[in-house]
């Protein structure tokens, strides 16, 4: 006997123990329904007449085919197939074939499929997409859906690079890009949409050139400004899918909330060091980002890629998972990554999956919503506008690299404490400095003397400020922060020290 998943529509759930999905066994649609109604007798009178035939307004689909178009209740079913019960609405006919909305109407799968009645493909496009077109899951209709689709990528960086290139190659008709950053040398090990020749150019210009080179059929809509509470809703409403390729918490929450308010799916990906995450958030169809993370972590707790590093290949893998999910949502095919958080560990090369659920008490997509508009996300995440640059508490005395150099040259006994990690120390160091990584400082504080004048530094000044706050609580008083960290030391004092 085959094990079949039966999708129960909302009006019938009360007769099936409240469940949206149940499994039942059988070799034909009729046998599966018989097994189902044996378990839930109340379903029987809903689905069948007294004579035992299916009531005339009940549509049963095996996979995406109506049993009325096959052998009725004798339609065979195979292990792993899904059987859907769909009440007839407005004439009862679910679009046949693969017309607009068919994928959604058939299995209740969420999709953003657009009307494609006016979309045509040129001969050149047919040739370009031929390896898509010959697959039934895409076909001519699916490729037209891709062409009609409007996808917005937030960020043209690590995740945005593979997303932009592959979505363009796949034939997504309109790609919006939001980014206002400039290509930097430190981007090149992972942001493969930009080349070495592009360093110093706006990312959005460089990304557009690459996309147009891959596929001139794609329309690129460049939005070269920071995404904000003031512009997000207006921007999102004209797109079908929003793909989140950002790297900071305020923007994550902003993207999520704007997606919920505009009803758009949010294809999420994140990367850190060797670990990646991906899922599809879509309020109404599954959880949103706030269902999973109601509150942001305290500022500084989760290091950014700039601080913690990232395997250059990782955004390629995670970004392409996002690209695949985006294409599936447009086609209305397959099983979207809704309600499932995919975790990827590149070091162990393993994928894991966690079930995540919509939280009924979610402040933005729950039943008692408390958020009805976009808020101040910098404030919500506890970061001020200065947090993007070196942040130094006002009462911590600082010295400039030039002043430190002068003191070292005078030999006035100043101790230079480097609180960065060992790999960073191996890249570059200030001569004579003592290395105690920030995380080891509490255990190794006895290696320092509070009688000494200590200048603390890290890469740019954030971690060293944290170290100074810790040392103060440990009784140290003669402390100063190196303004701008070793990065500014390199630019102001010693250009032979590599920047990273």
């Amino acid at each position: 006997m085959s094990q079949i998943t039966v999708q129960i529509p909302v009006p019938l759930r009360a007769f099936a123990g409240g469940q949206a999905e149940v499994t039942a066994q059988g070799e034909t649609a009729g046998q599966v329904l018989a097994a189902l109604t044996a378990r839930y007798p109340d379903l029987r009178t809903q689905l069948f007449t007294e004579g035992g035939t299916l009531r005339n307004f009940v549509n049963v689909f095996v996979g995406d085919e109506s049993i009325h178009d096959r052998q009725g209740l004798d339609t065979p079913v195979r292990e792993g197939q899904s059987l859907s019960l769909v009440p007839a609405i407005a004439g009862g006919a679910v679009d046949q074939g693969r017309g607009a909305g068919a994928a959604q109407g058939v299995n209740g799968k969420p999709t953003v499929a657009r009307d494609i009645s006016d979309v045509t493909l040129s001969q050149g496009e047919i040739l370009r997409y031929s390896r898509h077109l010959i697959m039934p899951e895409v076909g001519l209709a699916g490729q037209k859906r891709l062409k009609a689709a409007r996808v917005l990528c937030i960020g043209a960086g690590g995740l945005g690079s593979p997303l932009g290139m592959y979505l363009a190659a796949a034939g997504v008709g309109t790609l919006g890009l939001v980014d206002f950053d400039v290509v930097d040398y430190t981007n090149l090990h992972r942001q493969v949409i930009h080349g070495t020749k592009d360093v110093g150019r706006p990312k959005i210009a460089s990304a557009r050139d690459r996309i147009v080179d891959i596929n001139p059929e794609v329309r690129v809509e460049a939005h070269e400004f920071p995404l904000s509470s003031a512009n997000a809703l207006d921007l999102f409403k004209d797109y079908d899918v929003i793909v989140d390729g950002t790297d900071n918490f305020p923007t994550r929450y902003l993207v999520n909330d704007a997606c919920v308010l505009t009803g758009k799916p949010n294809v999420y990906g994140s990367i850190f060091r060797f670990d990646g995450q991906a899922t599809v958030f879509w309020a109404g169809h599954g959880p949103c980002y706030r269902c999973l993370y109601p509150e942001p972590p305290p500022p500084g707790l989760v290091p950014s890629c700039a601080e913690g590093g990232v395997l250059g290949i990782l955004p390629g893998i995670v970004g392409l998972i996002q690209a695949a999910e985006t294409v599936k949502l447009i086609l209305g095919e397959g099983e979207p990554l809704l309600g499932r958080l995919l975790l990827f560990d590149a070091l162990r090369m393993r994928f894991r999956e966690l079930r995540i659920k919509a939280n009924p008490e979610c402040p933005i997509c729950g039943t008692e919503r408390t958020i009805h508009e976009l808020i101040d996300y910098e404030q919500f995440c506890g970061v001020g506008p200065v947090a993007h640059g070196p942040e130094v508490a006002a009462d911590i005395p600082s010295v400039t690299p030039a002043e430190l150099k002068a003191r070292l040259d005078r030999g006035d006994g100043v101790v230079v404490l480097d609180v960065r990690n060992l790999p960073e120390w191996e890249i570059a160091r200030i001569p004579g400095a003592k290395l105690i990584p920030l995380s080891e400082l509490p255990a190794r504080v006895h290696e320092l003397s509070s009688a000494d004048d200590i200048v603390v530094h890290c890469k740019t000044g954030v971690r060293s400020a944290q170290a100074i706050e810790f040392l103060r609580t440990a009784g140290f008083r003669k402390l100063a922060n190196l303004a701008g960290g070793i990065d500014r030391w390199s630019t102001d004092v010693d250009p032979s020290v590599p920047r990273y």
Partner: protein, 310 residues
């Protein structure tokens, strides 16, 4: 162009809403004891259904109150007739129309809406009309300045259209001589509006009967099973003296019967209304029963019940 002076012939299409004929169903009532069954033939509205009344009422109300101004888009959730009403009225009055409807709505419906230039937003079939309502609410919340959201489920102008229109016509066409009014519940606007007016004009002399599908899972397009549905804000369960529960097959049988015996081609919700009228007639000799037939059968031709035997 030639000047046409003060020629005033012809009417604006909006003026053709309402004033529908009241049809007698004598053969249906033939076996009953001195029972008269009368029904408003709402398929005679310009958009082909009773929904023209509510939609026009809400749009005029929006214009009066300033919520609908030039440049705004009319947005709502509707699986059919109301959408067609918004579509043609929007076109006639120069407003864009955007509608959320379940993906399982028939191709014919969508084709009609597109013919009027409507933008269609499809919602998951499994969620039914409630899913479409949720999507419309979400869209409106995201951009309230862009849309006029009449929200037929919550807008008092819906039932007012029947209070001021349908009910008055029924009183005029029957000379006030009716003993029962029966109508099926969708948004509940028709029943609530007509019933309130009849109660106000005739007190207890008229018995008010609502009709609902007997289960949340039914084949009666446009009707709602209130105990399990998102209950419309305009629904007032206190208005009805009685509610009848209707099985889909009983309503479908009436649709076939009145087509074959009376020459009147109606949709399933009208079948539900007439089946209920027939039930009332069996128990109340001498009754004069008035009901409303929301639309014609043309929009349901792809349903399978036509080919079944009564």
């Amino acid at each position: 162009m030639r000047a046409i002076g003060t020629l005033t012939a012809g009417q604006r299409i909006e003026d053709l809403v309402g004033h529908t004929p009241l049809v007698r169903f004598d053969r249906l009532a033939a076996g009953l004891a001195d029972v008269t069954i009368l029904a408003k033939l709402e398929s005679r509205n310009p958009g082909g259904s009773v929904k023209d009344r509510a939609a026009l009422g809400m749009i005029l109300d929006g214009e009066r109150t300033g919520r609908l101004v030039r440049g705004k888009t009319i947005l709502d959730a509707t699986s059919g007739n109301t959408g067609i009403a918004y579509a043609w009225i929007g076109a006639a009055k120069g407003y864009a129309v955007e509608l959320c409807l379940p993906a399982s709505a028939s191709a014919e419906r969508k084709a009609i809406l597109r013919a009027y230039g409507v933008r269609i937003v499809e919602t998951p079939a499994a969620e039914g009309s409630d899913g479409a309502i949720r999507e419309a609410r979400r869209r409106f919340a995201a951009d309230p300045d862009r849309f006029f959201y009449p929200d037929q489920y919550s807008n008092p102008a819906n039932w007012r259209a029947h209070y001021d229109g349908t009910a008055v016509e029924i009183l005029e066409q029957t000379g006030g001589r009716l003993t029962h009014f029966v109508a099926a519940l969708g948004t509940s606007g028709t029943f609530v509006g007509v019933a309130r007016r009849l109660r106000a004009e005739k007190g207890r002399a008229v018995r008010l009967v609502s009709v609902q599908p007997d289960s949340p899972f039914h084949g009666l397009e446009g009707l709602k099973h209130m105990p399990s549905a998102l209950v419309p804000a305009i629904y007032d369960p206190g208005v009805a003296d009685e509610n009848l529960w209707m099985r889909t097959e009983e309503a479908q049988a009436l649709v076939r019967r009145v087509a074959r015996e009376e020459g009147v081609f109606i949709g399933p919700s009208g079948g539900a209304a007439l089946a209920a009228a027939l039930r009332i007639g069996r128990e109340h000799p001498g009754a004069i029963i008035v009901t409303v037939l929301p639309d014609g059968g043309e929009r349901y031709l792809s349903e399978r019940f036509w080919s079944e035997e009564s």
